[in-house]
């Protein structure tokens, strides 16, 4: 091979005068002019040289579009190399010179008839890359021929070309029947043609989620599985990725597919292996667990996953991110493979960090000694992030494996002795968690910790240390001095430390009331008078009032026994995990985020078969599926949500009481403290005693926990919403703003008999959350209260929820809850996601739902014409997004009126070539303006909306609202 290359190099040096690098060097003035002359030269060789120079300039980013006609003139040649170069140029610049591009059409059409299949394919391939609308018409005929070409090379190229054309003009592809031809190619005799057809169809199907384009049935599955054995490695990936979308009818079919896919696990290409793993992980859900084959399959999965770790580092990284998911879903697969995740000294840092994560997930009593020994080694490495993570990991081991706790603590103490600043701080943070998990066991180490008080400069570590001092104040002689020393710089501390300090001093006071009265007054006045932070201030008031009215009660509340923290932290929320399992191998699995979080356009949420929704299957797997269902609770690891709920301002009272007056102390809030909040917080959180940032997921919550996932919204809701948008006309709606039909937000089976369905609507400028609350339990329900988590637009209940209690069994009631938008704000994913906690006498339940963003469009959203024009120009083009609304049969006036009812205002209308352009504006409650251009062509049911907004994140939601409003 090397010889071959050498020989070629020699050829180059002796045989010809050209080394291409010289093309990169010309930067003279008047270059374009010179090139022009050369391009028009009579000599072929000179022409070719000139074209090469042009391509080189294009590569480095120079604008050579001025040479368009001259380059295109070179196209008519029988020199294939020159032709390819010209084509390359065309693909780049055709869009900027659409009229000139037409000049090239004839040559393409001619080339598509060439006797040489390589040229036919080249022509059809290039033509598809020229994204000019006018060219597409000319492309249809040649493409049709090429799809039926006798040569498989041409057919496989044509198959991809259909996807290209669809990207330019979807309607055209449908009208011309190319989709059917493409479907036929799935039965082609050539495996590569099949693979490319599958790839093209999958891509097209993604943009039509409900088209059933990729009609996967047992027959096609069979064809695909056959082609799988014969096509290239890349083709195998396309096919496997497509197979993963199929839902088998029963466990037998599922097993037979698995059997035919498992051989792929031995492929040298890691992507083939990962895609095969995806198919198996998914179809395994359908298999009954007592089946022998299920066990065999589990065993077969481990070795290939381990093998992936000997691939190149970049692939290792992808593999490790995926293994992280697989281990969470099915820990049994890799439970004996701990050693392969040990970090090697020369691993790149990204591999090291991922391995560490997986080590902790796999840690168990059986292997804990080894793991700890490793972690201790890692804690002496150089990379700060890695060392911190290793220290944190030691803490997590202690919490996860009780038997090892003692050894972990002594390891941590050793590390504290090293006096390396960041190691000490990290160790203190995790030791605090260990105290919470095993109270009254390791407090002897407190003295050592106190020695390091001065070196702590990170808020987490300071907060942790303060918590420890407050919690164990009775054992630390100079606790008051220690805390007082922190108090001096109270205002410079971060909120976390301030909150902690305030609570710790209150604890101290309750334990040693005589000496610390001054101190507690000092901190409470600092917290209440000089702070703008409502959380700090209000809880300060609460403490104050509590201490002054009833110290005994205060003691009960503040020094109550704290619930233990849970073992597994930073697990990915089950519904999200399920979705990610369906995306194994892809970017989503690398980011640990659903595709909708980083891909534009509407994505479908994939789900594992068996779990969620598909309760109709009566096969034995229904049992296992049911079990999975229960795990997949509506809302994440309670911790995450709780954390945020705890941080909520307490003003909107959750109990029925007098409406709160603004500011100051409120009785309502007091009540809340007594019973409401306690139960609202569930039993995982602690009563007021310590506000450790709220989250029980301590260890993970701090620092760079990798898997801080946006909690995905619950499946029934998203499903409902999608359905809703597909309803099309039909539903008769009362006049007034758009109101989507109610969907079930909280099914009775998940909420001990409480069922809630609802919708959002804007009426007379007020956002209403309309709910139907049904009691499907056997007993009466009383004491309803509601709270929202922070959300993207600060939605919050404007008053308490009015449920005339008691709600007797089988009774339902319509409730309309007015909302305001002054609540705390946090960006959600998707943007219009809302997480809600509802409480009754039975329990607290959580669900999430999505509101149409149109409820946030305010009444004064009509922009001045001049302002509109200026703003439109002012917003950068990157912030523009374009969407298609399909099958809408309204004329522009009706559409405009309809939109107006939802506060989307038409500012101007223009008619060009039979196309109506409506210019519209709307304003969100938080002052964000969205500008829109709606293109409606008479007779064409497909509208185009272009949205421009300074906050482009909202575009997707706004578009959904457009579609919903127009179609209702």
């Amino acid at each position: 091979m090397q010889e071959w290359a050498n020989q070629l190099c020699e050829n180059r040096q002796f045989g010809s005068k050209m080394t291409d690098s010289k093309y990169f060097t010309t930067t003279k003035k008047g270059e374009i002019f010179e090139l022009k002359a050369e391009l028009n030269s009579d000599k072929k060789e000179k022409k070719k040289e000139a074209v090469k120079k042009v391509i080189a300039s294009m590569t480095v980013g120079k604008d050579v579009s001025a040479l368009f006609p001259d380059v295109v003139n070179c196209m008519q040649t029988d020199n294939l190399e020159l032709k390819k170069l010209v084509y390359l140029y065309l693909m780049n610049y055709a869009k900027s010179q659409p009229d000139m591009a037409i000049m090239a059409v004839n040559t393409f059409v001619k080339d598509c008839e060439d006797p040489n299949p390589l040229i036919r394919a080249l022509a059809v391939r290039t033509m598809g890359c020229i994204r000019v609308d006018k060219i597409t018409e000319y492309l249809c005929e040649p493409l049709r021929k090429c799809l039926k070409d006798e040569d498989p090379y041409v057919r496989k190229t044509a198959a991809v070309c259909v996807a290209k054309l669809h990207d330019i003009n979807a309607q055209l592809v449908e009208d011309q029947g190319f989709l059917d031809t493409l479907k036929d190619l799935i039965s082609d005799s050539n495996p590569m043609v099949v693979a490319n057809a599958v790839a093209a169809l999958s891509e097209i199907a993604e943009s039509h989620p409900n088209s059933n384009l990729m009609d996967l049935n047992p027959q096609t599955m069979n064809k695909l599985l056959t082609a799988l054995n014969e096509c290239t490695e890349w083709g195998q990936i396309f096919i496997l990725d497509c197979l993963a979308n199929y839902t088998p009818r029963d466990d037998r079919e599922s097993q037979s597919i698995c059997e035919r896919v498992t051989p792929r696990l031995s492929h040298a290409n890691s992507a083939v292996v990962l895609s095969a793993v995806k198919v198996l992980m998914k179809f395994m859900e359908m298999l009954p667990k007592d089946l022998d084959y299920y066990g065999t399959l589990l065993k077969k999965l481990a070795p290939p996953l381990v093998t992936l770790l000997s691939a190149e580092p970049e692939l290792q990284y992808v593999a490790l991110r995926n293994i992280n998911l697989i281990v969470q879903r099915r820990p049994e697969i890799l439970k004996h493979e701990m050693k392969v995740f040990f970090v090697k000294y020369n691993d790149p840092i990204y591999v090291k960090l991922e391995k560490l994560d997986i080590m902790i997930r796999l840690a168990s009593q059986a292997n804990i000694a080894q793991v700890l020994a490793e972690l201790k080694e890692y804690a002496t490495e150089v990379d700060v992030d890695f060392v911190r993570k290793a220290v944190r990991a030691i803490g997590r081991c202690a919490i996860k494996v009780e038997q090892s706790a003692e050894r972990c603590v002594s390891t941590l103490l050793d590390l504290i002795q090293t006096k390396v600043n960041y190691v000490v701080q990290e160790a203190i943070v995790v030791i605090k968690d260990i105290f919470r998990k095993y109270p009254n066991k390791y407090e002897s180490v407190i003295a050592t910790l106190c020695e390091n008080l001065d070196s702590l400069d990170e808020p987490e570590a300071r907060a942790a240390m303060i918590w420890i001092v407050g919690e164990y104040a009775e054992r630390i002689d100079n606790a008051d001095e220690l805390l007082e020393s922190f108090l001096e710089g109270f205002h410079d501390e971060s909120t976390q430390v301030q909150l902690q300090l305030r609570t710790a001093i209150v604890k101290l006071f309750l334990k040693k009331p005589t000496e610390t009265q001054e101190l507690v007054q000092q901190v409470l006045s600092l917290a209440t008078q000089d702070s703008d932070n409502p959380d700090l201030r209000d809880r300060g008031y609460i403490y104050w009032r509590l201490l002054s009215t009833d110290p005994v009660a205060a003691k009960e509340v503040v020094l109550a026994e704290k619930p233990l923290i849970s073992e597994e932290t930073d697990l990915i929320e089950p519904t999200l995990l399920e979705e990610l399992i369906c995306h194994i191998g892809t970017l989503a699995s690398v980011y640990h985020k659903p595709p909708s979080a980083f891909v534009e356009g509407r994505g479908q949420h994939k789900r594992l078969p068996g779990s969620g929704g598909s309760a109709e299957s009566e096969s034995p797997d229904a049992v296992s599926a049911g079990a999975a269902n229960e795990v997949a609770a509506v809302i994440p690891s309670q911790g995450d949500l709780l954390g945020d709920l705890l941080n909520l301002d307490l003003t909107p009272p959750a109990t029925t009481g007098p409406p709160p007056h603004s500011g100051g102390m409120q009785l309502g809030a007091m009540d809340l403290l007594g019973g409401g909040l306690d139960s609202l917080m569930g039993d995982e959180s602690e009563p007021l005693g310590g506000d450790l940032g709220g989250s029980p997921a301590m260890g993970a919550g701090f620092g760079a926990a990798p898997a801080a996932m946006p909690p995905a919204f619950s499946a029934p809701v998203s499903g409902g919403l999608e359905d809703l948008f597909d309803l099309g006309g039909g539903v008769g709606m009362p006049l007034g703003s758009f109101c989507p039909p109610k969907t079930v937000w909280l099914p009775a089976m998940k909420a001990k008999g409480l069922e809630i369905s609802g919708t959002f609507v804007r009426r007379a400028g007020v956002i209403q959350m309309e709910m139907t609350i049904t009691n499907k339990a056997m007993s009466v329900m009383t004491g309803f209260a509601i709270q929202f988590n922070r959300n993207s637009f600060g939605l919050a209940p404007a008053g308490p929820i009015q449920v005339p209690s008691p709600l007797s069994p089988n009774q339902n009631i319509e409730v309309s809850l007015p909302l305001n938008t002054v609540g705390p704000v946090m960006k959600m994913e998707p943007l219009n996601n809302l997480q809600v906690a509802i409480k009754n006498n039975i329990d607290v339940f959580y669900f999430s739902c999505q509101y149409p963003i149109s409820v946030l469009f305010v009444e004064d959203g009509k922009m001045e014409r001049q302002v509109f024009l200026a703003t439109w120009k002012d917003i950068a083009n990157e912030n523009e997004s374009q969407f298609q609304i399909k099958d809408c049969h309204l004329n522009s006036d009706t559409a405009s009126n309809k939109l107006q009812t939802s506060n989307i205002f038409t500012i101007a209308k223009r008619t060009v070539d039979g196309q109506d352009m409506l210019y519209q504006s709307m304003k969100l409650t938080n002052g964000i303006w969205v500008l829109a251009e709606l293109k409606i062509q008479a007779g064409n049911p497909n509208y185009t909306v272009s949205l421009k907004c300074r906050a482009p994140e909202v575009s997707q939601c706004v578009f959904q609202s457009y579609e919903a409003v127009l179609k209702n």
Binding site: T232, W234, S266, T307, V318
Partner: protein, 442 residues
């Protein structure tokens, strides 16, 4: 799918830029340069998301290859493709360097057009590509109709890696079993982890479309044959793997795409039509009963704050008749080392200040021997609180056997159309064991 592919030099200048999808703009080229190549901090992930655009990159010497996308692509596939792209380029013009890329940019564009269509990887086997993409660029016209259809059917066909009509006067094949043995050992001599990752590399010069069958001392196969009373093909064409009755447990293996995977899955037999020339037939991994060719026994003693005494013993652990070569032991030294004195019984040892290590080299060493090095390291006093991390002692070597114990039992060649038989093929087998990451903590 892949939206675009860029190649940069170490300065971040674009050498090649090919955009496949409309959603990737010219600014993507700059975004990667600014955020990754010119980033102040070292890159912490091979996948970077900048403004909803994802960049995958690999580096070869100082050349950056980046694939860009805005979709939820198959990430493993993108990396596999980037590696493949590197292989293809190497096969065409040798080392991937700025100069070579500039010299061949037209060729690279031509290749990119062929192997990536609308972001979908297409056939990228160099064997097939070289039949119609050449640096002469005029092949297109010279082909006859038969040649053309032969090319297209090869590129798209089931056996895309081999063309028809290959002829050799002497049918010959070379089989190399290349293993790298990895070890992580505790200072006390406890094996923390050890595995062998091996490759079977084959060079075949065979005529026609031969059907090959490869056999090794795989435990599963041997056990099966033992029970079933067995097929007799095992003994017949033994390629001299030795008498080796013992079999090895293979944890996992992967194969070149020419191997029929379904057949391996059902019968565990390895059959294939080989590509012409050199290629990697299979990779495998074993973790059980590994022969560790060397044992390293470290002894580090801190004498006060300014001196370290290091003693390292290495013991070879294989047949005395065999010779290990290119032995190198690397003993890390602290950053504040001011001077080192070394005494070794065998080979040469030197302190390399730039590498913070003592490097001890021995040319050859027979099995069942031992050798020792001792060193005194003087340290500058520092007030650095952080202790020296004591990186592990690493080792390099080459031994003429397979540490996993793998033996080739047979490699049979069948070619029904041409008149040569298995016996006419000249076969060579070679075993080489090398150190992978072979570390002992101290």
């Amino acid at each position: 799918m892949i939206g675009g592919l860029f190649i940069y030099n170490h300065k971040g200048e674009v050498l090649i830029s090919r955009v496949y999808r409309d959603d990737i703009g010219r600014n993507a080229v700059d975004a990667f340069r600014v955020n990754v190549i010119h980033a102040r901090q070292q890159v912490r992930s091979p996948v970077t998301n900048i403004a909803r655009t994802s960049f995958f990159h690999v580096k070869r010497s100082n050349i950056w290859l980046a694939a860009v996308t805005k979709q939820n692509v198959n990430a493993a596939m993108v990396f596999e493709f980037l590696y493949k792209m590197c292989d293809v380029m190497t096969a065409y013009f040798g080392k991937i360097s700025e100069e070579n890329i500039k010299n061949n940019f037209v060729l690279i564009y031509e290749l990119l057009d062929e192997i990536l269509d609308f972001g979908y990887p297409q056939n990228s086997e160099t064997g097939a590509l070289k039949t119609f993409i050449t640096q002469q660029g005029i092949k297109g016209q010279l082909q006859t109709k038969e040649e053309q259809s032969q090319i297209t059917s090869q590129v798209t066909g089931q056996i895309g890696w081999r063309r028809e009509g290959i002829k050799y006067r002497r049918n010959e094949l070379f089989l190399d079993v290349l293993e790298s043995v990895n070890l992580l050992m505790s200072p006390q001599g406890q094996v923390l982890s050890a595995h062998v990752s091996g490759r079977v590399v084959m060079k075949s010069y065979l005529s026609g479309m031969p059907e090959c069958k490869f056999g090794m001392n795989d435990k599963i196969v041997i056990d099966k044959q033992g029970k079933g009373g067995a097929s007799d093909d095992a003994g017949k064409s033994d390629l001299g793997g030795g008498s080796g009755k013992q079999s090895i447990a293979i944890d996992d293996c992967t194969f070149h795409q020419c191997v029929r995977l379904s057949k391996f899955d059902s019968e565990r037999s390895i059959s294939f039509i080989p590509p012409d020339g050199e290629y990697e037939l299979m990779r495998y991994r074993t973790t059980k009963d590994i022969i560790l060719p060397f044992r390293v026994i470290p002894l580090v003693r801190e004498v006060g704050r300014t001196k370290l005494e290091v003693k390292v013993v290495i013991k070879s652990n294989f047949k005395p008749s065999l010779l290990a070569q290119k032995i190198e032991v690397r003993i890390p030294t602290p950053l504040n080392t001011s001077g080192v004195q070394v005494i070794c019984m065998k080979g040469k040892a030197k302190y390399k200040a730039s590498e913070n290590a003592i490097v001890w080299k021995i040319k050859r060493m027979a099995g069942m021997k031992e050798s020792q090095i001792s060193a005194e390291i003087e340290l500058l006093p520092t007030n650095d609180k952080k202790k020296w991390a004591r990186p592990p002692i690493s080792m390099n070597f080459e031994v003429p056997f397979a540490p996993s114990g793998l033996k080739v039992r047979y490699l049979k060649v069948f070619e029904s159309k041409l008149n040569y038989s298995d016996h006419d093929v000249i076969k060579w087998v070679r075993y080489i064991g090398r150190s992978g990451i072979y570390e002992t903590r101290c």
